[in-house]
Subunit: 229 residues, 2 copies
DNA sequence: GCAAAAGTGTTGTAGTTACACCCATGC
DNA sequence: GCATGGGTGTAACTACAACACTTTTGC
């Protein structure tokens, strides 16, 4: 290979995935008992080696598909972590990604098979290596995204109430949003479609279910908060 | 090495730098005639191989220092590019960075030695491989940053007029800013310090020079535009 | 009828835009 | 004295926060 004269050592290349989910009104992370040495059995993000003929995006998609069986998962690069000593097992450079998935949509069996667990952020145990840092940066990216556009399409179930959506935002930003103002804001964006069905479990009056409109229907998506939150 | 069983091929790891500068009231990029095959002599970003004992940030800093002689340059990860075929010379994964430097501050000799050239964005020739994409993503990141905080500290000379700063913003966002409103906004942030000296070259009245206050003096930095630009 | 969440309306304010207008000075 | 960019003032507008108020319905 013609670059060998410039680069004569081996660097392992991997991907790690910060997987966000929303379950029982809590924002959660999918974490795993690590399967290989070193640090086998410790809590970590799920990762995988990047194969020779793959891009890092392909690798992350493959890892996610292997675990959840899902295709077309939302996926975005967070950052590359490359301190030579970050992994005691070798000189591993890793590209961190974050993903959003619907918790109910994939089989729990597959997840249990991998020693995985959905854990809410405040209850998260310390993770191996620099994985805590990856979570932190992923969360920052998620917040940035959520302040630019209304997210939830990838996290919430098909039908949900405005209160569900507001609560998701409360979880993400760790702050309360005024119910009336939040409702008005969301509806003004015209990205939701009201169903003729109510969720009666949370109140006597019942709350209408909504679903996200198909992307093709949405002509123009406003930034969700025009002023910084 | 214990990971060899999982990862049995060689991936070259490099960094590429999108270097922004501001010269003669134009936002410019430092581009280079590529020194090695393939594509030797074609326009490209400056890059370098990541050494075994380096993080990618260290590598990018080293590359920048080698070219400009500057230390403590502003540097931020843009994104990792990893399509297996992106570089015809081998399977090279590259981490793109962007940097901001003061054009006048480093010797032009060094730059000429490397076949480098400052070129404004509209005049940029096509670059090799996926370097155009890197420039595009770097510019997006720069815009995002510039809308969150007042940049210019790393790009403008020590002393500058508000008009210089406004023009920098015009270049970055490719739109005009109202002179009065921009001035009021900038001054309200209290991050500038007015000098007792005027630039008489642009108008009869003359415009006061300003400089950025030391970071330690600035107690709290507001987001520069609270609404999206 | 009352509790409790869903949903609507109103008012105030800060951040911003648009634009009028004054200022200083070299020619 | 006037043209030119520098610099100030102001009125209108918008997004948003705060919060009062109405609605619905099971108990």
């Amino acid at each position: 290979m013609q670059y060998d004269k410039y680069h004569n050592y081996k660097r392992f290349v991997s991907v790690d995935c910060v997987i966000f989910g929303y379950e029982q009104e809590r924002l959660k992370l999918l974490v795993f008992k690590r399967a290989i040495e070193p640090a086998k059995g410790k809590w970590s993000l799920i990762g995988g080696w990047v194969k020779e003929e793959e891009s890092v995006e392909d690798a992350a998609r493959r890892v996610l598909h292997d675990i959840t069986g899902l295709k077309d998962v939302f996926l975005e690069q967070v950052q590359t972590f490359s301190k030579p000593q970050r992994d005691p097992g070798g000189n591993v450079l890793t590209i961190a990604f974050y993903a959003m998935i619907k918790v109910e949509k994939h089989s729990n069996e597959l997840i249990n098979e991998f020693g995985a667990q959905w854990i809410s952020l405040p209850e998260l145990p310390p993770l191996i290596f620099d994985h805590d840092q990856m979570v932190q940066r992923a969360l920052e990216k998620l917040r940035l995204k959520a302040s630019y556009e209304m997210i939830g399409r990838q996290l919430l179930p098909e039908k949900f109430t405005i209160t569900n959506l507001r609560n998701l935002y409360s979880e993400i930003f760790q702050k309360q949003f005024d119910p009336g103002n939040f409702r008005k804001k969301v509806l003004s964006l015209k990205i939701l479609h009201r169903l003729d069905e109510k969720d009666m479990s949370e109140s006597r009056k019942g709350a209408f279910y909504y679903k996200f409109r198909d992307i093709e229907e949405v002509e123009f998506v406003d930034p969700i908060f025009k002023r910084s939150i």
